[in-house]
Symmetry: C2
Subunit: 460 residues, 2 copies
């Protein structure tokens, strides 16, 4: 450790209680990556502040030394936003894990960033309310992490992304000052919308130390229906009909033929017939009119030639329908050994062309490009399966991913619907945002963080 | 006109088609104020660009000369955001008034900024869809103006403010470059959220030249119920019960006893009984479960001691219930001659204290402080009636408004729920946002507009 590094660690030790600093190499190495898997920088130290005041102390030390700060939630991110950069102080929020208030009259919760999404969702349910954001990692993902990434989930088609549930934030700025972004009222147009700017900024603008989030009425019981289709085009037509119905579904998920084949091989108990080329699952959680919605799903399935459909009236039955979706990732990861997990979004009208392009890429490049995901809001997760020991196939898999991203752009889409940019998508961002917009974003970053110490090299 | 001014006007004449420039003093003076009514600066010229390219040309001329630019919609704003500053080029978007696309599959509309809210709402309805934002000025207010102010309306309790309906923007930046803020997809986390930053920025960051807005499913027919209460506390208790019910209403409006007295005097056909001290109107537009919602409104009315209630099953009947609300403004304006129209928002739990404070101010300062508005989302519009010819009463009216704003702050509220800051609320903003937050907002402004030519002296 250099003498500067020692001084930083000493200052942190002085500022924080005993036991809230990790410098041990082995432990540190185990904590410096999110789930993006790509190797990045080496952290100097990890700290676990227990209060906003302690976060401020850490930031002031970083500011004084120009040391990079990387905020971390549960490290479940897929884009590298939470991974270390060289010499960084990792700020782990796991000690700031209290739900401070659930307020049924204001329909809000005030929480510390280390609370998990599931803990908040359960507390809301206990109060007869509902926290809508549902990233697949909800059991571990933290409120701070999901705010930093503006996390999505299956229910976005009905309830929107995390941003739609965040009312105001307390943040610590790069100079160590703690500020509130806005009042907690439902409506306010006092000042610029700093809240929305911080949401999704992946720790590059400020550190979230407290969040006030909106809660909704408890939904009705979740019920659903799934169907198998003889072609992906038939499934997409049914999906678009369901997504644009008078009452849009709470969940609308798609699996393609590659996914079904992999699932068939992976788990024979799921009884996947050989002629099925696509699978759809639609869920309603309406408090009123759920019967009509379910009937509407089934009408759309039948109108577009579904081979079979199944209805789930109870949560156990619905869990059964989700079983197919749940094994998707292990099934395709296992197909050739590993896989790239993408995150595109395109207009609904372009889904057919993306699917056709994926098939063409699969054939031309000799890899599997499987299209799956939240088809209801046009956000899907292509899975590109390849053998990591086959260098040429690995290269072709990455080429397929690049071509798919480029096509999504041309169709008016985005290279990241919900996973974020982090380090993984920086190159793709070049194509999506014009040079002038990127310059503007860097100027905003500089307004927040003139020394560039907050998660440098990420997002922008 | 100075020689610089002449050069600017000449350059604008060269850049724009004939007939799209106003320099005539009389015409110009009639176009340089929004409805805030307070006298501000004197414009140099008004231009009516017909395309993004023409807007860019205007901005480049302003940039070259350091000339202020003030974007204008229909000048229906109440905070001064659209009023001239000295020497400004007023940019009137009335020639950019086309609906470019209504897309039922993507559930979006692409519109130019000069389209009125009502024109868009009608086009959406024709396509079987729904544009939710409903400022009271919808018949004249433009999409550009409502985006600049992040306009609210009566239906915000259910559908959110304008921001919740804006998907992406094309904007012209202060250097004349035209950029898109994001892709039109439902979900995207590529880059910082420039869209939300521009929404509500009152023309201080960029000029909106095209908007992609989200459309929703057509709602069910609007039905409602109103009730009269013997006390405002009873009405507030009923309102909070309705607002936090399993299915929140589409509209929830309150009038207090000052309002009812003024309405009684103003229009005797409305049959306002003398013992009524507060009025509530709740509306449902649910596609399913509307009967239950209506019954719920009436249960809440009865449970909190309503003197009487009336139900509206048709749009004509509902229009009849709204009649009381519609005459509020002329009735109170006429009471003493004129009135201050405020725009506060507080947490629901603080509504009772605000009402009590208003009564105390009325008594102490000898003016009428009437509390009315969108009680469902805590956003209300105090009306402070006074005689403009009575200098001392005028002073006391403004004192009452200041004290009310200060109390809203202390209760965790905001000085503007939906009207904006403009020039009218700049002083109040000082109390609401910390110096550090205001400094940060100015730094963001500088990132967008280094020369400070976009609506200088407003919002921030």
């Amino acid at each position: 450790m250099t003498s500067t590094a020692s001084r930083i660690v000493d200052a942190l030790r002085e500022a924080l209680p005993a036991g809230s600093i990790v410098v041990d190499e082995t432990e540190l190495r185990s904590l410096e990556r999110d789930r993006s898997g790509t190797a990045r920088g080496w952290a100097l130290v990890l700290v676990r502040p227990g209060s906003t005041t302690e976060v401020q102390a850490v930031v002031r030390i970083a500011d004084a030394h120009g040391t990079p700060l990387v905020a971390q939630g549960a490290r479940t991110g897929l884009a590298g936003a939470g991974s270390a950069v060289d010499g960084a102080i990792l700020v782990d929020f796991s000690r700031m894990n209290r739900i401070l208030r659930i307020d049924p009259l204001e329909r809000l919760a005030v929480v510390q960033p280390g609370v998990t999404v599931q803990e908040l969702a359960e507390a809301a349910t206990e109060a007869g309310l509902f926290y809508a954001p549902d990233p697949v990692s909800a059991e571990w993902a933290t409120i701070g992490g999901t705010i930093a990434t503006n996390a999505g989930g299956m229910r976005c088609i009905k309830y929107g992304v995390t941003r739609e549930s965040v009312r105001s934030l307390e943040v610590v700025l790069a100079d160590g000052s703690a500020v509130r972004t806005r009042s907690d009222t439902i409506k306010s147009v006092a000042g610029l919308d700093l809240t929305s700017l911080v949401v999704g900024s992946e720790g590059t603008l400020a550190l979230v130390t407290e969040a006030t989030v909106g809660l909704r009425s408890a939904p009705g019981p979740a019920r659903g229906a799934s169907a198998l289709f003889p072609s992906i085009d038939a499934a997409l037509a049914a999906a678009n009909e369901i997504a644009t119905a008078a009452s849009p579904p709470a969940v609308l998920e798609l699996l393609d033929s590659f996914a079904l084949a992999a699932i068939r091989d992976y788990d024979s108990t799921l009884e996947m017939p050989g002629d099925a080329r696509a699978w759809l699952l639609a869920v309603t959680d309406a408090r009123a009119g759920a019967d009509e919605e379910l009937a509407g799903f089934e009408r759309a399935f039948a109108a577009h030639g579904a081979l079979s459909s199944a209805r789930a009236e109870t949560s156990e039955e619905l869990d059964g329908l989700f079983a197919v979706r749940r094994v998707l990732q292990p099934a395709l990861d296992g197909y050739f050994g590993t896989a790239i997990h993408g995150d595109l979004a395109v207009p609904r009208a372009a889904l057919g062309e993306i699917v056709a392009h994926a098939a063409e890429l699969s054939e031309r490049l000799g890899v599997i490009v499987s299209i799956n995901g939240h088809v209801g809001d046009g956000n899907f997760h292509p899975i590109i399966a390849f053998d990591p020991d086959d260098a040429d196939q690995t290269r072709r898999a990455h080429e397929a991913h690049r071509e798919l991203l480029a096509r999504a752009h041309r169709l008016g889409g985005t290279v990241t619907g919900e996973h974020g940019i982090g380090t993984e998508k920086l190159e793709a961002l070049d194509e999506e945002l014009s040079p002038r917009v990127r310059e503007l974003q860097r100027a905003i970053k500089a307004a927040f963080d003139p020394k560039g110490i907050l998660n440098p090299g990420k997002k922008l």
